[in-house]
Symmetry: C2
Subunit: 198 residues, 2 copies
DNA sequence: ACGCAACAGAACGTTTCGTATCGTAAACAG
DNA sequence: CTGTTTACGATACGAAACGTTCTGTTGCGT
């Protein structure tokens, strides 16, 4: 199988990046339902055609915009299962946390993930991979004799992911915390989850 | 302030209920974005006007449809904080769990909650009240000397809610469990969360 | 130089939201 | 019983937005 040589004028990668950035910005402002392709186009200064040439639907555009900003990184491996899981959670949080001001009540970027047509696009390229990373962390901990092998590993991973999800999307009044406090709360949760019962 | 006496022909409560039911059904089938008011109307056999007379927007209709099926019930009070919280979580789960077949991969009814215009409507009438119920359970446990008063109560409540949220909305491959197994997984989580550290 | 595809711009068909208008039906007050 | 008020069905309508199509132009690779 030879690599098909692309013919004609290639896509402008710079334009692609600007469209993705503008999409993220619109997303944070107005959410998925109210995001307007035409508005993104005019914000970038390109035509609507240029966008539809790259992504067939709004859902695909938005999924790409989200995934473009997200980084999976390396699976944490500090030798301490608690710190590994805290770092794991932190990576997830940083991928979605809004760092501008004013801080919106709800994280619309994360909310957009929940559109029925967007979820499947994010799932394979992000959520499943993150789950595998979590399992790696726990498997190593078991191998080190640091973690009871009888614990429900999916429960541990899902509870951590669930907390982030809940805080960023639904929770209306999450107290404003600095990073250290926030990280501490994850540490508390993780410590509970990995403690051997009895 | 006297109660304004309604004049003229009253709204047909039976019709209202049928519209809400049809909305829930459409929601489970196609999700919020693809739900069509006109389709709900024709499913019920009423006019679009009858719907817009009751709810000003699609978001309001959907929020009402969700809340209509949801029950807050009494705050569990068994004397055991673990069982109270498990029951608390179970009530939440049953409010959203799809009980028909085939089971959809994602719970579209719950996904609809995440629309930026729907969330605020659900928040006041459901999420906040549930949070208060959680705090009641924990406060009673502290009063009984059953729970370390130093624990982060919001963290406990949010972690439980987050797990349900995550499982129902995003998690693609939650193993099919029967009710007993599912309840056990909550019991495991809750026990971890309320255990005193050290 | 030539071919191919991206580019901007603009028009277009379609769908759907939400509103408005009409005539009829039903509850209630006097 | 009569009049008032509001729900009801039916239908038409305007506005908005998705996604497509077309035209003419620009730029990359062979």
């Amino acid at each position: 199988m030879t690599q098909a040589t692309p013919q004609g004028r290639p896509l402008d990668d710079d334009l692609t990046g600007r469209v993705l950035a503008a999409t993220r910005e619109s997303l944070e402002d107005v959410g998925f339902v109210n995001l307007r392709i035409e508005r993104v186009a005019s914000a970038v200064g390109c035509s609507k055609t240029a966008i539809y040439r790259r992504w067939p639907t709004k859902a695909e555009l938005v999924a790409s915009a989200i995934l473009d900003r997200v980084t999976l990184g390396e699976t944490p491996d500090t030798g301490d299962v608690v710190e590994d899981l805290v770092e794991h959670a932190w990576q997830h949080l940083t991928n979605f946390k809004h760092d501008g001001e004013p801080k919106p009540k709800h994280n619309r970027t994360m909310l957009a993930m929940f559109d029925a047509e967007v979820i499947p696009l994010i799932e394979d390229r992000y959520m499943k991979k993150r789950h595998v990373m979590g399992r790696e962390i726990l498997a190593r901990a078991v191998a080190r004799g640091q973690l009871d092998s009888q614990l429900d590993q999916d429960l541990i991973i899902d509870a951590i992911a669930g907390l982030t999800l809940f805080r960023l999307s639904i929770k209306p009044d999450t107290k404003v915390r600095n990073d250290a406090e926030l990280k501490d709360s994850y540490r508390t949760l993780v410590r509970s989850l990995v403690a051997s019962p009895g």
